[in-house]
């Protein structure tokens, strides 16, 4: 851009504004990405959200070492204990330092269960999103760049998948295939990943297609083709990097959506299959905790409050991060 042209302002017209302008122009040039990173780090909500997400991810990874008990361990005679700060629960029990967030009806430690639940939510947030991006970007690029029949087919497919209410689809997939081999792998998580990916890749594909259609008429793409670059090279070296911003933003919003879906399905008893082996990686989920806590809503509301707070915090954090990313990557959108 015309950085050098405006630096030679005549001294006679130098005002405070012009001085500021000069200062701005004198700073070393920054790339688009470092500009975006700078804007993102200015956004307090986004920074706090990133901190929360990293913290939850670390807690989830470290769950077996930091959880006070195994989430399946039963403490007989110590069921329905309230959290440590509650002196008298509706059932007349007091909280104790042994169980910081109390225990459930079977005497299982709620804190340990919540920590293990974070693992499921994190995995459900990130793994399907990675699959969705992989499929969505590939199909979107091919459809947008190639056009024609592929493009038409994709658009019709998106129309149908958009029309099918998401959660209804997840519910019937999870009910119908729950007892098959696929539904039993990883305690049912694999099936959930597959269902989430099948529904959500079309959104990304449509987005990428739109980007490709807009970019492929631009001069730099024509230039790339004229210099003899192959289609593949043009797509991945020139078009993809220029359409990354909206893709990143949409990925950031996919994650909380997936976490909510897992929680709703868990609440309906269709999420993670109950684990029996205490050494398993994925033992319980926040959705499953909501389901278990529901029957005790009057006597032990904490059994519901803890997983609900966990879901709300993580989802809010991802949403704020998504907002922050959108504002940082596309400052024109910000009002």
């Amino acid at each position: 851009m015309a950085l050098s042209a405006s630096t030679d302002t005549t001294p006679s017209t130098t005002t405070a504004a012009a001085q500021q302008m000069e200062k701005l122009l004198a700073r070393p040039p920054r790339s688009l990405w470092s500009d975006a990173r700078h804007r993102l780090l200015q956004n307090k909500a986004a920074v706090v959200s990133m901190f929360i997400i990293v913290l939850v991810a670390l807690l989830a990874i470290a769950a077996p070492w930091i959880a006070p008990y195994n989430p399946l361990e039963l403490h007989s005679g110590k069921g329905f204990l309230p959290p440590v700060w509650v002196e008298r629960s509706p059932t007349g029990k007091a909280g104790g330092a042994d169980f910081l967030l109390g225990t459930d009806n079977l005497g299982r430690d709620v804190l340990s269960r919540a920590l293990y639940g974070a693992r499921v939510s994190m995995v459900v947030g990130f793994v399907p999103t990675a699959i969705i991006l992989l499929i969505g970007i590939t199909v979107g690029m091919v459809a947008g760049y190639g056009g024609g029949r592929t493009d038409n087919l994709l658009m019709r497919l998106t129309d149908i998948i958009y029309a099918f209410p998401d959660l209804l689809f997840f519910i019937i997939v999870m009910t119908a295939l729950r007892n098959t081999l696929l539904g039993k792998t990883l305690n049912g998580l694999l099936l959930l990943f597959a269902a989430l990916a099948i529904v959500n890749w079309v959104g990304v594909a449509r987005l990428v297609r739109g980007q490709v259609l807009a970019l492929k008429e631009r001069e730099f793409v024509t230039a790339s083709r004229m210099t003899g670059a192959s289609s593949l090279r043009t797509m991945f070296r020139h078009i993809l990097p220029n359409s990354l911003s909206p893709i990143i933003v949409s990925a950031a919003f996919q994650i909380p959506g997936a976490i909510i879906t897992e929680a709703v399905l868990g609440y309906l008893g269709l999420g993670l299959r109950p684990a029996t082996d205490p050494d398993e990686i994925f033992i319980t989920s926040w959705g499953a905790m909501l389901l278990e806590g529901q029957s005790a809503i009057n006597n032990q509301p904490w059994l519901l409050i803890v997983p609900a707070l966990c879901v709300a915090t993580v989802v809010l954090a991802f949403n704020f991060l998504g907002d922050g990313l959108r504002d940082a990557l596309d400052p024109h959108l910000k009002q």
């Binding site: 149908i160 099918f164 209410p165 009910t175 007892n179 009057n298 519901l304 409050i305 879901v311 704020f320």
Partner: protein
């Protein structure tokens, strides 16, 4: 435009066909069948199962009948045919009842609104009604009085309500209202008194309320900056007229379009909220069917809801064209 409307209308059919096909395939992939009973209960013997299969056409091939005779005499086509006649087939779990009876049949001598679906429809209508009736005025006021207390309240409600999933909010609201403030009884049995409906409707509509407030606010802020608003003021129109005629008419168009998605949100919310409140609606029947693995009931209700959402979206798309003459349709 007529062409667009006709195409938009007919496009609904392949969509619905695929919805039916996917549901049908998935339900047939599910293990077990309609005549399985719980392990503890007395099982139906093989001969009776065979007769029942014959009676309900479950001995037919899945898609195309190649055994000679009528090629259309298959399970799928029979099911589609049944759907056309409003017949959703027998429930796998509730003996002697068909799915449409469970969903639509009111108790003897009562009106349609007393059926399970009728209950849910009423709850959904109330929820959507209050969400629109409060959300739009709040959003408009917030935009007109920007950076005042009203605006901050509206922003807070909309941010929380949009980001935090509806059922999590519902859990907090219920705990607050029932176990802390003792304002409501969760296991509310008497649904004939209107007071009992307030809490579930408030909880169910909250997400839509937040969304409508947010959208109205941002859409109003967009409109306020337009040149035609300055023109309207410059030619000496009263502020009330400017707001009513020039701002609202333009600002509310995008708000209207989210009623389709809001409907889908209400359907999903109803599963959880009806379950929590013990509400005798079709959402709760659906959740029960899921936990009982009542496959025909799951399939029938899924199709009913999908139909509702598809049809709702169609209505919104069509009315959008009439509401906003600037929209050009190919």
């Amino acid at each position: 435009m007529t062409g667009y409307l006709i195409r938009r209308f007919f496009w609904m059919f392949p969509v619905l066909f695929f919805v039916i096909l996917i549901t049908f395939l998935l339900m047939h992939a599910a293990p077990g069948g309609p005549w399985d009973r719980d392990l503890s209960a007395k099982q139906i013997d093989a001969r009776t199962q065979e007769l029942l299969n014959q009676r309900f056409g479950l001995d037919k091939p899945l898609f195309i009948n190649l055994d000679g005779g009528n090629p259309f005499d298959s399970q799928f086509l029979r099911y589609v045919g049944g759907l056309m006649r409003g017949d959703l087939g027998p429930s796998y779990r509730q003996r002697g009842l068909t799915v449409q009876q469970i969903l639509f049949q009111p108790p003897k001598g009562k009106s349609f609104w007393q059926s399970r679906f009728g209950y849910s429809a009423r709850l959904g209508i109330f929820s959507l009604f209050w969400a629109v009736a409060l959300g739009i005025p709040l959003g408009v006021t917030a935009a007109l009085r920007r950076n005042t207390l009203v605006d901050y309240v509206a922003l807070f409600i909309s941010t929380v309500g949009v980001s935090v999933p509806g059922f999590v909010l519902a859990i907090f609201l219920i705990i607050l209202l029932a176990t802390k403030l003792h304002l409501i009884n969760i296991v509310q049995q008497n649904w004939s008194s209107p007071g009992a409906w307030i809490t579930p409707a408030v909880v169910l509509g909250f997400g839509a309320f937040a969304f409508i407030t947010r959208l109205t606010r941002s859409s109003m802020l967009e409109v306020i900056r337009q040149d035609y608003i300055r023109t309207a003021r410059a030619k000496g129109l009263g502020e009330a007229v400017v707001i009513r005629i020039h701002m609202l008419r333009n600002a509310l168009i995008p708000v209207f379009t989210i009623i389709g998605p809001a409907l889908a949100g209400l359907v999903v919310g109803s599963f959880i909220i009806e379950n929590m409140f013990g509400f005798p609606g079709s959402g709760r029947a659906y959740v029960q069917a899921v936990s009982n693995r009542d496959y025909s009931m799951i399939m029938g209700t899924t199709l009913l809801y999908a139909l509702l959402v598809v049809f709702g979206n169609l209505l919104v798309d069509i009315s959008y064209v009439f509401l906003d003459p600037r929209i050009k349709v190919k």
